[in-house]
Each structure stands twice: as C-alpha cells, then as structure tokens.
C-alpha cells in the first residue's frame, strides 16, 4: 500500500510538473512584460527588445505578420492584455489607473468615450497621421482618444425568408412596427450588449426622448424578441445563421453579411443575409485608441498609435475584426466591397449620451421587459 501511495504522490507531482512545463512553454510563446534578462542566444542584434503592453477587449485581433513587422522595426515585444468585453476592459483600465497595467488602451467606443475621458485615463497625443482621418470620427478634440475604426450596427435579414414569403424588406424603423413583421425581429438587451445599446441609441436619435419609448412600446406589441447578447441573438434566434432560429431579422453589423461569406463552410457567391441600410436605421460605433496616463514607454506608445492609424494595420482590420478602417487610404478587401452594404446616414451618439445613458437604459428596461 505504501508503494501505491508513493505512486499517487509521484503522479500528482508529475501532473503539477506537466502543468508548469506547459505554462512555461506558453510563457515562451508570448513573453510577459517583465524585463527578461537577455539570453546569450537571443536573436536580436543589439539590445534586448523593450516591452510594450496593450490593453484591449476580447474581440481584438490582428495579423501575425503585421504585428511582427512593427516589433522588429522598433525592437519591441508587444503583449496584448485581453480584458473582457468592451465595458469590462474599460472598467479595468479605469480602476487600475493609479498603477496602469498597460501603455496603450484600444477599444473604447463612442458610447463609452465620455466615461474614459472623465476618468482621465488617457494622455493626449497629436499623432502626425491624425490629419488623414476624416473629422466626423474625431470626437475628442484634445486627441486623448484617437479614432481607429468604425462599424455600423444595422438590422440584418434573411434573404431566403423574404424572397420565399414575397415580403418587402423593411425600409425604415417605422416599418418594423407594421403587423406584417410581427415577431420577426430579435434585438439585444441594451443593458448587457453593445450592439443592443447602439440600436437603442438609433431609435433615440430618430424619435427623441421620450418619443423612443412609445416606439418601443409599439415594437413590443409587434412581438420584438429581446435576448441578452449578440451571440444568442445571431446564433440561436436569427434564422439565416447556422443556428437556424425563428426570427428572420436581427440587430447585427453591416459587415456581418461579408463575414457570412468569408467564414462559410462551402464557398458562396452571395451572402445569405442582407442589411437594412436606409437612413437613420443604423448606428455608427467608432472605436478609439489612447495612450494610458502614466506610461513609462511614451515613445513606443506613440509609435504604436501611429502604426494603428497607418495603412498596413488599417487594411488588416476588416478581415480580422469585421470593422471599417478610419483611414481613407486603406483599401477594403474584396469580400467587403462585394457583400457588405455600407449604411446611409447612420445615427451617431446623441449629445447628452453621457448624462442620459443610464436613465435611457432603465426606462427602456421598464418599457420593454417589465
């Protein structure tokens, strides 16, 4: 029995050893931002690379090659800290602002922007590339938050459903409360989802406060379905996705039809989904990057911000994150120009968003859910 006990102890030691080996290995894959002592075999010619930390949300993605180019050109090793969804990531940046976790924060959008600016987490930086960006995206004139990309939250519809039932695609928000579209739309809860909030803001821009509540009352009477977030709405409820749900219309992005083609199982020559892109039906989300106040690597952080605004990174964004680049010099990939319909006159963030945001969501909750 002693022997078996010994074997057990040995086994658990092995397990933990496996554990630490695996962890060490991953550590080698993406080194920590610590000052790793330079090993004699390091491939770097001069000094050891410096470390730059970028805090961002879970949806952030980029091409390996583009990032590597930046790292080699500047002798820097970048660590990306994925910190949850957009709201969670921002909150973490705010509560850690006395001892910032990173040098750069990417991923605050125009619905959260004032929170970030009021909390003072960013240092301003007038990037030389900022002149290339159209003024409509520059929401912070002090250049603390610098626009990087945008995406339009729009209603997506199932082409097959509307063709089969010989039904016209809704052309305005008003159409959605008509009886022929009863029970056909699924939206996300604005309290738990960022596209959900974006769509709520589009209705507020159109009908004003408190007019939007009457509109939502009618939508509710017309059988609008509310779910917690985009994943459920798109994959469980939307009929044109792989989930084959019951609703032929969903609040998603104007780029989603392009993603359906890019990520199809078998090659497609047309997207199964389309976008309602009539004036005022979409909401434009703009995402910003900023240099975190108190960074010790201001020079590198500036270079990284410039890099994000420059053409190579901007051209990679559409296929990595399915957003549009703000730099007009960046060309869109084919799948975007062919299958994604840009929206016409999308709604932008209401001026009193920062003060009214919570009360709008609360009033919406009372009207639609209770």
């Amino acid at each position: 029995m002693k022997r078996i006990l010994f074997a057990l102890v040995l086994f658990s030691l092995c397990l933990s050893a496996c554990g630490s080996v695996a962890v060490n290995q991953t550590q080698a894959d993406t080194p920590l931002p610590s000052d790793v002592p330079p090993t004699p075999f390091a491939p770097v010619a001069g000094s050891a690379p410096r470390a730059l930390t970028v805090m961002t949300h879970d949806s952030f993605s980029a091409s390996d090659g583009v990032i590597q180019e930046f790292e080699q050109a500047n002798n820097v090793k970048i660590t990306f800290l994925k910190s949850g969804d957009a709201g969670a990531a921002l909150n973490k940046a705010i509560i850690s602002k006395d001892a910032p976790l990173a040098d750069v924060f990417y991923g605050v959008d125009n619905t959260f922007l004032t929170r970030a600016l009021d909390a003072g987490i960013f240092e301003s930086y007038a990037s030389p590339l900022i002149d290339r960006i159209p003024d409509e995206f520059k929401l912070d004139l002090k250049n603390r938050a610098i626009p990087v990309d945008y995406g339009d939250v729009c209603i997506n519809y199932s082409k097959a459903f509307f063709a089969k039932n010989d039904l016209p695609v809704p052309a305005s928000l008003d159409d959605l409360i008509k009886p022929e579209y009863n029970g056909m739309l699924v939206v996300e809860n604005p309290a738990t989802s960022s596209p959900g909030l974006a769509f709520l803001l589009a209705t507020i821009q159109k009908y004003g406060d408190p007019g939007y509540l009457d509109y939502w009352k009618s939508l509710r009477a017309n059988g609008v379905v509310v779910v917690d977030g985009w994943e459920t709405a798109y994959y469980t409820n939307f009929s044109a996705s792989s989930g084959h749900g019951p609703q032929p219309m969903v609040v998603s992005y104007s780029s989603s039809p392009a993603a359906e083609v890019a990520f199809s199982t078998t090659p497609m020559d047309d997207s199964p989904t389309g976008t309602v892109n009539a004036p005022g039906t979409c909401f434009r989300q703009v995402e910003f990057v900023g240099i975190l106040a108190g960074t010790k690597n201001r020079d590198l952080a500036e270079k990284f911000v410039d890099f994000m605004l420059d053409v190579p990174f901007q051209e990679g964004m559409p296929l990595n994150m399915f957003v549009y680049p703000v730099n007009p010099q960046a060309a869109l990939p084919d799948v975007f120009t062919k299958y994604a319909q840009p929206s016409v006159q999308p709604a932008s963030a209401p001026a009193d968003l920062s003060t009214k945001r919570d009360s709008w969501i609360e009033a919406w909750t009372q009207t639609v859910l209770r």
């Binding site: 029995m1 931002p33 509560i95 097959a160």
Partner: protein, 569 residues
C-alpha cells in the same frame, strides 16, 4: 482529543493564507473602492429594485435546489447500491454538464428544445401544427432545467459517497422488523444521510443563488438575479457603488445560509460504523429493482445524454447559413470544422491551435486539483472535529461561492496590478499578467467543493477507530493511513473530480482577469462564437465537443485511479 491552540490553528495556516491573499484581500479592496453610502440617498431607485431581484434570486435558487435533489437523490441511490453495465461512463455523463460553458449548454438546449429544436419539429410533424407547441427557452422552466442539468452531479457525488458506505444491513434490519420501504427510507436512511444531503444542498443552492450565465442565456432578459444585476451595474453602467452594494448583499446572504447550515449540521450528524462500499452493492434483483435501474438509466440518457449529444452531432453536420439557393448544399456529414481548427487561415496573432488550448486547460486543471486538495485536506480535517475556531471559520469558507465573480475579477485587477512583494520579486512582474493567476482563481472556487465533500466524509469516521488504533500503539501517521484514508479515499476522488471540472469549465473567473493570451478550450469557444459565419459556428461546436471529451476522459481517468484502499472501502 484536546489540542493546544497552536495545534488547532496549524491546519488552517495554508488555507488561511491562500484565501486571505487570493479571495478576502482582493474582495475587500474592490468593495472598499466602490462602496459609497452617499449614493444610496442620491438614487434611491436601486434599493427597491434590489429587493425585487433578491426575491427572485432566492425563489429560483430554492426551486432549483429542490428539483436537483429530486433528480439527484434517486441517482445517488442508484450509484451507491447497484452494479450495472457502464457504471463509470454513466457517472461521468452526469458530471460533464458541470463544466460546460453556458453558451454551449444554451446552444444544445436550443437545438433540442428551442423553437426549431428537434422536439418541436417532431411534435409539429406529429400534430400537424404550424407553430412550435413547446415554449422552453426564455421561461423559468429553462432556468430550472439547466440548473438541474448542471448541478445534479453535486448531489450524486456527495450524497452518493455517503450512501455507498452506509451499512445496508441497517435498512435490512428495519425491513425485517416490518417497516415498509418508505418508512425505512424516512426513518433510517434519510436521517443518516442528512449531513451529506445538507452539504450538497448548500453547494447547489449557492451555485443557483449566484447563477448568471444560465439566467442570461436561457432565461432571457426578463429574469435577473443579483449576480446578473451586479454584472450590469459593474461592467455596463460602470456604476461600481451599486455593484459593490449588491455584492455585499449577496455575500451577506451567502454567509447567512452558511451559518444556518453550520448550526444545523452539528445537530444532524450521527456517526455510524461505515461499511465497505462493495459489500453494499448488488446487481438489481427482481422485476422492481430492474425496473428502477432501467428507468433511471433511461432518464439519464434522456436528460443528460440528449443535450450532450446535440453538440457532437452539430459539429459534424454542415452548418450552413440558410441560403436562398439551398440546392447547393443539403444536410450532410463533414469533418471540415475539425480540420479547420488546425489551420491558421488568416495568420491571426490570436489563432488557437486546439492542442495548445487543450494542453493549457489540462495544465490549469491539474494545478487546480493539486492545489485545492493540498489546501482543502487540512481544512476539512480540522472542520470534521470542530472546536471554537472552526465554528467561526466554517461559514467563511463558503464565501468564495457566494462572491460575485465580476466583483472578484475587478478586485484582482485592483490588487495584483502592483508587485505583490516589492523588493522580493522583479519590479515589473505583477502576478496579474502571470498565467499562474488562472489556476489560483480556479482554486478559490474549487476549494469550497473540495472542503465540503471531504468534510462530510471525514465527519462520519467514528473516533473510536482512531482511539482503538492509538491504544494498539499506532502512530498518528499510521492511524491516518489505515483508518482515515480508506474511508475517505472515495471522497478524495470526488473532490478531485470537482476541482478538475471547476477548472476546465472556467466559470468566468479567468475571463474576468486581464491577461496575455494563454487560450483555454472555453476561451477558444467564445472566440469562435463572437463572429458570424457557418465556419465559426461549426468550429465552436467542434471545440465544445473536444472540451466535452477531454472532461469526460479526465473524469474517467480520475475515477480509475484506483486509489490505494478504494478496494477495501
């Protein structure tokens, strides 16, 4: 046995340091950061709303716990008393749901019971209906069913272990004295099983009380528990004071339940002579017993098997979006989603090779098992013979289950964004960005499970055995090895399996940290599900199937370990 105060405190040293550092301190930091009573008077709308939410939270948790007991107790009896084919596989089947990410469970429940699910399609065809007759997703029933699906394993394991070593001759004696089977159950078996039933109920209740993913995904936005409200306030409204207030309410409730449990458990624990489990087990005899066993096996296949089967099925079928031109691709089988997992098509920086994800998941899980057993064992041993100190500590140990993971995650950010021991460790090496923080966070959640499952087993060891061994000249180590260990080894396996599943399932704690990319299986699933496209959905289902397999095999392996002494007891 009376021990000196120092000896009494010794077993608590490691667990106290661990929980203090990785649970209580970060929690206190974030609550102190956000707690602001002035806000109460400023917006008084929060408090009445909190009361409504609290009432529903309590209501659904109580109902879910009752239903879980209703489903779990017969199954615990089945596993404890009967020998039947594929027993370990069935036991693993009931354990797998425990670690599945909510997104995946919601997807498989929808595939089964949703508006376009198999059940509704069959009913529509049979009854010639235009609309799906069964409304499941978005109802209280969906929440309750998911909670039973997730937590039945807690009852099966904890009560089942106690039942297995409960001497079958006790109820046989009652029967021979003329008691009906029901009377025997009511007056002999259940009273003796009370400690384990209470321990399991407390764990299940706390899990349901702090439920979050199930409520959001299966219940829909019309239902809100405290945890959901904390999530909304903390991460969407960025209102930390409201979130802190709600977190405190949730913690106080947890503490309250644990205190009530502690006062009651002491009264109902009775020590009986345990009997080796294999002596109590038999093959089903007669029509009634065979019927009972067959019925329960059928129930397990239906309730646990079918939803789990939906995932592998989806992962090998063409999951094309509904196209106008459907002639191009009919339904069919494919392995494309699995092969695609191995290709980094967009040369993405964040591409996750499936083996790496599985390896990371397993490494975290292995560390969590070792750490939580090492910390849980001394704590459970001390709790099994409670003194004054233990009476105070006991309820505190359950708090990690009642703490909002959102709040704790933010607490970690606030605490570990600076060097932990300045001067001792290199300046910029904060624990926050270290991969080690993930198994540490998992251990805080696994620890209450480990402690509870070990404690209820340890408490049942008659002290006479130890005294007899001591009188015969056995050393402390020999007593432990020859008396305690054989009786509790079964509970150790269970505790290890719990820690394993808690870690594999992530339970949100890890995603609430801010960390460099050490992808695990659940994070890879979420990543695929965050973008549209048939390939993404298919790969998510494939990854979920891999997670299920890894977990199932892991549990089978742990159970097969043949711990020394298991054969005897």
């Amino acid at each position: 046995m009376s021990l000196s105060p120092l000896r009494r405190f010794l077993p608590w040293l490691a667990p106290a340091i661990f929980l203090g550092l990785f649970f209580f301190y970060p929690l206190a930091r974030i609550l102190a950061y956000g707690f602001d009573l002035s806000f109460l008077s400023a917006s008084s709308a929060v408090l009445p709303r909190a009361l409504v939410v609290l009432r529903f939270t309590f209501y659904q948790a109580a109902l879910s716990t009752l239903l879980t007991l209703l489903a779990g107790l017969p199954l615990a009896y089945l596993f404890a008393r009967f020998d039947f084919p594929s027993k370990t596989i069935f036991r693993a089947l009931t354990a797998v749901p425990f670690m599945l990410p909510t997104v995946v469970v919601a997807a498989s429940f929808s595939a089964l019971l949703g508006p376009r699910g198999w059940v509704n399609l069959v009913l529509m065809a049979l009854l010639r209906l235009d609309h799906p007759p069964l409304v499941f997703v978005g109802t209280l029933w969906a929440i309750l069913a998911a909670h039973v699906f997730y937590n039945a394993t807690i009852v099966i394991r904890i009560v089942g272990n106690a039942w297995a070593t409960l001497d079958v001759r006790l109820s046989d004696a009652a029967r021979s004295l003329g008691a009906s089977p029901f009377q025997t159950l009511l007056h002999v078996t259940l009273p003796l099983l009370r400690p384990s039933i209470f321990a399991a109920s407390l764990l299940v209740f706390l899990f349901d009380f702090t439920s979050y993913g199930v409520i959001l995904l299966l219940g829909g936005p019309r239902f809100a528990t405290l945890e959901v409200e904390i999530y909304i306030q903390a991460l969407q409204m960025l209102n930390l004071s409201a979130a802190s207030l709600l977190s405190v309410v949730q913690l106080l409730c947890t503490l309250g339940f644990s205190v009530i449990y502690g006062r009651y458990i002491a009264r109902v624990t009775s020590v009986v002579k345990p009997r080796a489990a294999w002596l109590n087990i038999q093959k089903p005899r007669g029509r009634r017993q065979t019927g009972f066993v067959a019925g329960l096996l059928f129930f397990m296949i239906l309730f646990f098997g079918l939803p789990l089967l939906a995932l592998p099925l989806r992962s090998v079928s063409y999951l094309e979006a509904d196209r106008a031109d459907t002639s191009q691709s009919g339904p069919g089988l494919t392995l494309a989603y699995y092969s695609e997992l191995f290709i980094n098509r967009r040369s993405s920086l964040f591409y996750v090779p499936p083996f790496l994800a599985a390896r990371n998941s397993l490494a975290y899980a292995a560390l969590t098992v070792c750490l939580s057993l090492a910390l849980g064992f001394p704590a459970a041993s001390a709790l099994a013979r409670p003194g004054k100190l233990e009476k105070w500590i006991d309820p505190l140990l359950m708090l990690p289950l009642g703490a909002s993971s959102v709040t704790l995650g933010l607490g970690y950010i606030l605490t570990f964004n600076r060097p932990l021991l300045p001067g001792w460790l290199p300046d910029s090496s904060t624990l926050l960005t270290s991969p080690l923080l993930v198994p540490l966070a998992h251990t805080t959640i696994a620890l209450p499970f480990v402690i509870r499952s070990l404690q209820s087993a340890l408490a049942q060891i008659p002290n006479r055995y130890r005294e007899a061994a001591a009188v015969l000249g056995a050393s402390r180590w020999q007593i432990w090895k020859n008396v305690d260990w054989p009786i509790i080894s079964r509970a150790v396996v269970s505790a290890g399996a719990f820690a394993f599943t808690v870690s594999l399932g992530e339970f949100g704690a890890a995603s609430l940290l801010a960390r460099p990319d050490y992808p695990t299986l659940p994070t890879a699933i979420y990543r695929f599900l965050s973008q549209p496209g048939g390939m993404n959905y298919g790969q998510a289902m494939a990854m979920a199937t891999i997670l299920m397999l890894v977990c199932g095999l892991g549990i089978l392996l742990i159970e097969r370990l043949r711990l020394p002494g298991t054969g005897e007891f």
